[in-house]
Amino acid sequence: MTKVIRTENLTKVYNHTVVPVHALGGVDLEVEKGEFTAIIGPSGSGKTTLLNMIGGLDHPTSGRVFVGDTEMTALKESKLIDFRLRNIGFVFQSYNLIPVLTAKENISFIMLLQKRSKEEMEARAIQLLQEVGLTDKADVRPQKLSGGQQQRVAVARALASRPQFVLADEPTANLDTQSAFNLLDIMQKLNEEEHITLLFSTHDQRVIDRARRVIKLVDGKIASDERR
């Protein structure tokens, strides 16, 4: 199996606080292609911090992050943005979409940044909208979509660039049960049928039950890691 993500003794200390916060205390983690992994743990255990490190959004205090063969932690800021664009899909808890762009434009946006051809962009955007079941909302702006629909567009957007993996930080936190399941179904289907690697954090027991691998963080350290 090919490793998509690998972290080596990853630590993060927030020093600018009154008492330094050890958000991550040496995390060694490997994620293989096609895994469907949930990161769980109590609030403040470091889930978001870990995902930010893996996504290259923040720099660790020590340790390294590899994506494929690239040591992401060694990349300069400008290279890093480009690397993110080409290799990592993001789904955030909220504020995922550009409000002035329609659902379809939000999906195409990523491909535009990648300078894909117009035909490819168009075809892929339509295909992705179909996969997340929002074909009829293609020309609607985010504020006219429900929270669940917005998150589905966000998933489609994250996949548009054909990333090596998708990171999602509590993607269902703001959703009602029905929407959460809906989103989960889509994520699961993408994982099973297209072997998309998905790594997401969650508090949500319903989500945890669906994951194929569950990593539990406690105080910035991996407390358990089970595949099922």
């Binding site: 996504g55 923040d58 943005i81 480009d82 550009i98 994250a158």
Partner: protein, 408 residues
């Protein structure tokens, strides 16, 4: 690039009311600025135009002494030598206006007055100014006439009419006595009030005879084909004319004092406008500030998913430029008909202010200038403002930490 434009344009209309208020503030500033500048410039343009037309011309050739000591004694000899010295520049010269002028006493059986006697070539004056159009009684001069035109103000004080004969007494070239009787052929209204009070126009030959100054001129006005080229022509001509005898003066030198005064006034108006613009700039800055704060999370997200900061900064700058540009264009479009109207229908002053202007020798009329500079200078100023105000969002986009910002 197209996507950046689309993003910027749509962002602009996210908060319609705010954008409209900002655009409107730029609009009113530009409208006010263009109108006030155009009004001021128009007045000055008219004054300069009048002065150039009636007295200085664009370029003057004089005896080297005349400017400091204006007297018939310091006149120049307009002979073959001078004429051939000017030949090489014929291409750049539209026409020449030869004049001999001096003070004279003019009298009839009722009163005696001092007046400026301008000996001139009636044909070239027709090209130069509008004496002929402003004849209010009698006829314009012909070059062979032994008669004069008097200004309407002078006609009033002398109580003179067309056909009257006036007595002229003055001093001629090198102390020769000058005296003559000339009938009034016509009365002319001169638009410079000061000149209208005491001016006499006489054909050149008659005036040279009167002043006993054959072939002599006090000044030879040179009208270039292209007035904007005056300076260059003056420099070229200076090489061909003997500096020991002749002096070349451009209208800028001739009107130096006036131009200084005008520059000061223009600068004062500019200061006022800049204060206005500063207020506008702060208004825009406030808009930008709230705009950026509102969008922090969104900007962080956009950078997170892979948009370069430079691209995002460009979007912000385009937004600023579009916003101010809309105001500028609307302001300029609105100003245009106003300026156009007052250019063709100048404001006629009346009452106290008009009298003051007349006292200072100005026509009490205030036209607007149509000069493109009025419009362009506003575009320039507002562009600078929008670029200055853009510094903040650009700085913000470059300095923002995505992780912290997305948590706000």
């Amino acid at each position: 690039m197209k996507m950046l434009m689309i993003l910027a344009w749509r962002n602009l209309w996210r908060n319609k009311r705010r954008t409209i208020i900002t655009v409107a503030s730029v609009f009113f500033a530009v409208l006010l600025a263009i109108c006030s500048e155009s009004f001021q410039r128009g007045s000055y343009e008219m004054m300069i135009d009048n002065m150039v037309k009636y007295s200085t011309g664009y370029l003057k050739v004089q005896d080297v002494m005349y400017h400091d000591e204006p007297s018939i004694d310091n006149s120049l000899l307009y002979d073959d030598a001078l004429q051939s010295a000017l030949k090489p520049y014929a291409e750049s010269i539209d026409y020449l206006v030869p004049r001999i002028q001096g003070f004279t006493l003019v009298a009839n059986d009722e009163t005696t007055r001092g007046a400026l006697l301008i000996g001139m070539n009636p044909d070239s004056e027709v090209q130069f100014n509008d004496f002929r159009e402003n004849i209010v009684a009698g006829d314009y001069l012909e070059s062979g006439d032994q008669s004069v035109l008097i200004s309407s103000g002078l006609a009033r004080v002398l109580n003179a009419e067309v056909g009257d004969t006036l007595v002229f007494i003055s001093q001629g070239f090198q102390g020769a006595s000058a005296a003559g009787l000339f009938p009034v052929k016509g009365i002319v209204r001169i638009r410079v009030p000061e000149m209208d009070r005491a001016t006499i126009l006489m054909p050149l030959a008659a005036a040279q005879w009167f002043f006993q100054a054959d072939e002599r001129l006090t000044s030879l006005i040179v009208m270039p084909n292209n007035p904007a080229d005056t300076e260059r022509l003056a420099n070229a001509m200076a090489k061909g004319l003997d500096a020991e005898w002749f002096r070349l003066l451009t209208w800028k030198e001739l009107l130096a004092d006036f131009l200084k005064l005008m520059a000061f006034d223009v600068a004062a108006n500019k200061v006022f406008l800049y204060i206005l613009y500063m207020i506008i700039a702060f208004g825009i800055y406030g808009t930008v500030l709230t705009m950026m704060v509102e969008r922090t999370k969104e900007l962080a997200m956009i950078i997170s998913v892979g948009m370069k900061r430079s691209q995002l900064a460009v979007v912000c700058v385009i937004e600023m430029v579009l916003m101010t540009l809309l105001g500028v264009i609307a302001g300029a479009l609105a100003a245009f008909p106003v300026v156009y109207y007052f250019h063709h229908n100048p404001i006629q002053l009346s009452g106290e202010l008009a009298n003051v202007m007349i006292d200072y020798g100005f026509e009490p009329v205030m036209p607007f200038s149509m000069s493109a500079i009025n419009f362009l200078s506003q575009v320039y100023v507002v562009s600078v403002i929008s670029l200055l105000v853009s510094i903040y969002p650009v700085y913000k986009v470059y300095s923002m930490k995505v992780v912290e910002s997305s948590k706000l």
